[in-house]
Amino acid sequence: MASHDDDLSGFREEVRQWLEQNCPPSARNVPQNADNSFWGGRNAVHGNEDRKLWFERMAQRGWTVPSWPQRYGGGGLDASQARILAEEMRRIDAVNPLQSLGIMMLGPALLEFGSEEQKLEHLPKIARGEIRWAQGYSEPGAGSDLASLQTRAEDCGDHFLVNGQKIWTTYGHKCDMIFTLVRTDPQAPKHQGISFLLIDMADPGVEARPIRQLSGNENFSETFFTDVRVPKANLVGVINRGWDVAKYLLTFERTTMGSSGSGAQGEGLDQAALRLFGREGLAREPGLRQEIAEVLIGTWSARIAGQRLFDQGKAGAISPFSPSVLKLLATELDTRRTRAMMALGGFDHLDPGGSAAYKWLDAPTNCIAGGSNEIQLNILSKRALGLPEA
């Protein structure tokens, strides 16, 4: 035990030095949001030369995906080491070198369900930011009731022929490939005729049209598939058993959403309140001050929950319901926090180009995406509490 701890403190020292030498100043103290992030891909755009260098150095060590095996481009770190790396990066407020749905969602699913060829083909490209992935689950007629999806994939011998439409595809118009749920057996009960298929968005017949959001950004798209030929090798897992993959992947999506929104990054709401409104202002408006205190209490509780989840993971005692709990509470808290930020800035925060308005308009999307919060409540009612169907 002691020697493992010694190893860890040695590791921390090494990480700290390496980061000190390799993380350029302009890759630090950058607000960590979707726009400041590097997403990789065939048309990758770096924020600046320094951040490009930072990304390349991290990818070189496999630290864009610290805990994936090294043979797939990862850093091969165990959970404690990965946590130390994350802590040390947070300590110097280093920007995340690479954001991607490939890291957050597809990677874990491929590690669990993919064939060795698929892992070797796709994982290193995710780790090195060469391919930017989109998620093709939702359809116009299949949102919460995802399993009713209609996009068809017909078995044509050496390939599948895909026809249909996806919607709300996050950055669909900027992505290179898309992992989709498609119907491969229209006769089977709805959960049993679905397969998990990887599609190259550069292939003929794929078209992504951006959709403009309340926040003014175009962060998702409609994605159309017209007679798209997809190689058989792109089927992940067993045919007609794609629902298993889909559900497995969703728990990662929810855990990510449950931890990313917990206000851990950047300026805290307490500092923002003092900067924007000051103690005197807050004293004049006890209701607003109370709201801020309550949001801070929620934020702190969520942070403790994140730490507890990690400790439970190490002890092999994770509750299968944690992703739903954290997703539900963290996304609601996030909307509350952005509302408080709007109030603190008053008229000035109505500026549509400002980050407060952007975050306020964007926060509710997370209560809908990843399985709406009502769906999380359904999951908890049925699975955690064992309450019966209506």
């Binding site: 307490d270 003092l274 403790i304 539900l328 019966p388």
Partner: protein, 369 residues
């Protein structure tokens, strides 16, 4: 320390659960309440709990205790919450904390052994206001030869009626000091106070009451630490109360039929129950984090204690009202047990500061808003 229970702690929880369900089932508390016993707890039960090491497990090993800290005390309180065990566990743990941090070796040797065995009960008398506000301290100490005399009054003294002795905060020449007053002391009046939860509370009136001082320095930090310990322990008890009331409610949702189906199939009720489940899950981590921080002498411990008390008081208020509502008419009867949880939850939430108090404390002193 990790926010999961250790092997030893799991065993402790099992042992506490087992003993409490055998020796102190909920019906025992109800019978005690109905008997009107002024002591409001069963001294024999308290001694049996003590024999298993459940009373003041936070007394340091060097002082002859188990040295299991706030974490163990909290896990026991949580289990006591499930059955509403009426035993002076909270006051014992707080007294142990106060004595451990202030008393001389000789004082510890006289006070702690019988506290641990449950033969004596010692109550901390710190509050002077109806709403918890520890900064108010009007009780004064004066010198009397070698000894001390106290004058003032205390309220909301937990387990204070019939106690063997009281630990009393008082001001002496501008510093906060802690004193021990014995049962037979002159000029001491102890009044039993009835409360909705039918537990033991007292008001004290002190008129030139002889007292023994514990330690000789500023007792302020020790008192704050004891309050923090008490707050985290009450949060743990509230967690047990909420878990129990919630489990009983979910069971009722699966059993009660209306409109030809169980009421738990109605989504309106499902979502309300699921939301409480989620909040309970989050709160569990918060309570454990507070207990762990106290044991680690973490400088954040005092704030985590407030966090835990704030979160649990608010959750218990919301959860217990839902527990009643989802039971329908039977939920508001005295014969049905859910009401016992409601009443204890209300009192445990109030003691040592409710969510309004602790949210304000964090806002003012921690975030400096």
């Amino acid at each position: 320390m990790a926010l999961v229970l250790t092997q030893d702690e799991v065993m402790l929880v099992d042992a506490a659960k087992g003993l409490l369900s055998r020796e102190a089932p909920l019906g025992m508390f109800r019978a005690l309440r109905d008997s009107g016993d002024p002591l409001a707890f069963d001294p024999a039960l308290h001694r049996r709990l003590a024999a298993s090491g459940f009373v003041a497990p936070n007394v340091a090993e060097a002082d002859g205790g188990l040295g299991l800290g706030a974490s163990a005390a909290g896990l026991i309180m949580e289990q006591a919450g499930h059955v509403l065990a009426a035993a002076p566990l909270l006051s014992a743990a707080m007294a142990a904390g106060l004595i451990g941090k202030t008393a001389s070796k000789a004082q510890k040797d006289t006070l702690l052994p019988s506290l641990i065995t449950g033969e004596t009960t010692i109550a901390a008398a710190l509050d002077e206001t109806a709403r918890h506000e520890p900064s108010v301290l009007a009780t004064k100490a004066t010198r009397n030869g070698e000894g001390w005399l106290l004058s003032g009054s205390k309220t909301a003294v937990i387990d204070g009626f019939g106690a063997s002795a009281w630990l009393i905060s008082a001001e002496f020449e501008g510093t906060i000091a802690l004193f021990l007053v014995e049962q037979a002391a002159a000029g001491l009046e102890v009044d039993k106070v009835d409360a909705v939860d039918s537990r033991n509370y007292a008001k004290l009136s002190l008129k030139g009451t002889p007292a023994m001082r514990l330690g000789d320095g500023d007792a302020g930090p020790a008192i704050t630490a004891a309050l923090d310990l008490g707050r985290a322990l009450l949060a743990a008890e509230l967690l047990g109360i909420c878990d129990e009331a919630f489990d009983r409610t979910v069971a009722y949702l699966k059993e009660r039929r209306q409109f030809d189906r169980v009421i738990g199939s109605f989504q309106a009720l499902q979502h309300r129950a699921a939301r409480l489940y989620a909040r309970l899950d989050l709160a569990r981590g918060v309570v454990l984090a507070a207990l762990r921080a106290i044991d680690a002498d973490d400088p954040e411990a005092t704030w985590l204690a407030s966090l835990s008390k704030s979160v649990m008081t608010k959750l218990s208020r919301d959860l217990l009202v839902e527990a009643v509502q989802m039971h329908g008419g039977i939920g508001v009867t005295d014969a049905f047990d859910i009401g016992l949880f409601v009443k204890r939850g209300r009192a445990a939430g109030e003691l040592l500061g409710d969510d309004y108090f602790h949210t304000e404390r964090l806002a003012r002193d921690y975030w400096r808003l």
